[in-house]
Symmetry: C2
Subunit: 350 residues, 2 copies
Amino acid sequence: MPQKVRIALDAMGGDVGASVVIPGAAISLQRHPDSEFLLYGDSKQIDEQLANYPALKKASRVIHTDVTVSMHDKPSQALRRGRKTSSMWLAIDAVKKGEAHVAVSAGNTGALMAMARFHLHTMQGIDRPAIAGVWPTARGDSVVLDLGATIGGDAHHLVALAVMGSAMASVLLNRERPTVGLLNIGVEEIKGHEEIREAAELLRASQLNYIGFVEGDGIGQGAADVIVSEGFSGNIALKAAEGTARQMADFLRQAMASSWLSRIGYLFARSAFKALRDKLDPNKSNGGVLLGLKGVVVKSHGGISAEGFAYAVDVGYEMVRCDLLTKINQMLNRDGSALAQAHTAPEDVS
Amino acid sequence: MPQKVRIALDAMGGDVGASVVIPGAAISLQRHPDSEFLLYGDSKQIDEQLANYPALKKASRVIHTDVTVSMHDKPSQALRRGRKTSSMWLAIDAVKKGEAHVAVSAGNTGALMAMARFHLHTMQGIDRPAIAGVWPTARGDSVVLDLGATIGGDAHHLVALAVMGSAMASVLLNRERPTVGLLNIGVEEIKGHEEIREAAELLRASQLNYIGFVEGDGIGQGAADVIVSEGFSGNIALKAAEGTARQMADFLRQAMASSWLSRIGYLFARSAFKALRDKLDPNKSNGGVLLGLKGVVVKSHGGISAEGFAYAVDVGYEMVRCDLLTKINQMLNRDGSALAQAHTAPEDVS
């Protein structure tokens, strides 16, 4: 375990760049004083911000670059224009060279995936990377993946996601044998895509703690510690849930402001509302972890506050402290047989 | 337009059967006194319930059958065992024969789809049916389909869904040119499955009011009047949103009961909470309409209250009153060129 956790930040990523990234890093540093930072981007903008955060300034080194990946660049454009020069690339490069333990960016997701995959490469046994997030449920947190890194995928891909998700849940949520569910549209055996049924067979035969299919409403119920889906449906589930939460919070606000009686009620119940707001704070579930790469990269939402970015930095910190990569490698080795079997699944499964 | 709306009910469908279906029908009858009912199922159970609802009894005819489709039957089993004899089949058969304008069942979704498709057949130009639902959004209601009738589908299928969904939105939500969006995991052109991009091309060239891709959180924002997705992702989105809404309602209840101050606050704000509860009542969005068949069939949730089942009956009533089938046929004819084009899409689109 490293003495200090060194975090490489793409200081220009996201809709607003340094003005959110630097204050966010300062918040996270308060929570984890054993962090230090490499800050990549326009040194003038970064230094301006750092002037307000002396503790962060002391714990940071600024590496100047003029090149920024835009939120609108296609992955191929970003690779062409920003390779070896952009703040996003340099943060990933620091992980590649061992100068940082983890890279965090609020930049364009497609570009970040493409650069991270191109430069760090996937782990042995993993074809395609995934984005994993922590989902607050009625029974504590669950790990949900893939939230949109890659679209579609065969049984092998789903089993690989299950292995990586289990590794993340075991270290992050501290569960010895995290339960694993496959996202599907019915719990009956007969439903779902062919590859999901094949993956179910393979997972049942594996050493993972597979519990069966989980429907969309099962995620929030905490039906499993790890929810596995290919990236399209995983992203749809995440966004639909986020949208509903926001919509309900708006309805609640409107209802509480609708009459003087309800406003008085709000005053009495203020601390309950505050607890509710804290519980539902979308900032707190910020920070998607790119899994399956030879290095840890965390994706923050682009349009986020400093507080929200700080949570993404926290996630990066925790992934290093709990030694995520080693755990994933261990489980890939242990469950390698399941993955190898999955590779030939179409022939093996009747 | 029919003088009376005649509704065929599968009185044995759902987790509890007649004890929910009959009281539910009675509630809907109060709201629509110009309804009459054909009640299929165990006449003893039905009559027992009807004794409590004299108005409904007067407006109903009971047709006895011993055969019930179980919630656990696979579609093929249900067809084998329940064809021509089960309460579900007989309700659909009444629509086929023109004895009823619409059939409503809270039974097993797969079985209902299979029987309705087998017996009613799909409309000209439609290969596979869909389930459409009404989704309460920040800007009013939207029509979302497919909620899980069929998995996957090519560009032609997605365009057919767009046409049927537009027809439903135009009559149900009273919008002349309802906006149509395709559910996708990014609003950028580059993202998404190939068939979604192809469907986008075709919809842009069609007479429909196509507005582009909509992400999962756009549904609840009311980004479009009609949201189109193949059935897997559509079902995941629906269930994830329902689950989140339930989870937040639970959190809110806990927060309001957490201290004596918050309980006092609750008393003051009671009517605001009641308005909120009404707004979010999941019963009110009950009733999925099976689209694409030569007849109207409505699917109610299985585990629902009488009030919830009444909403599904209301949906059936409204679909008849607004003459949904004629509207769909009109739009299929008008937009037939888009569908025909879609059939050859893989060759036509570069």
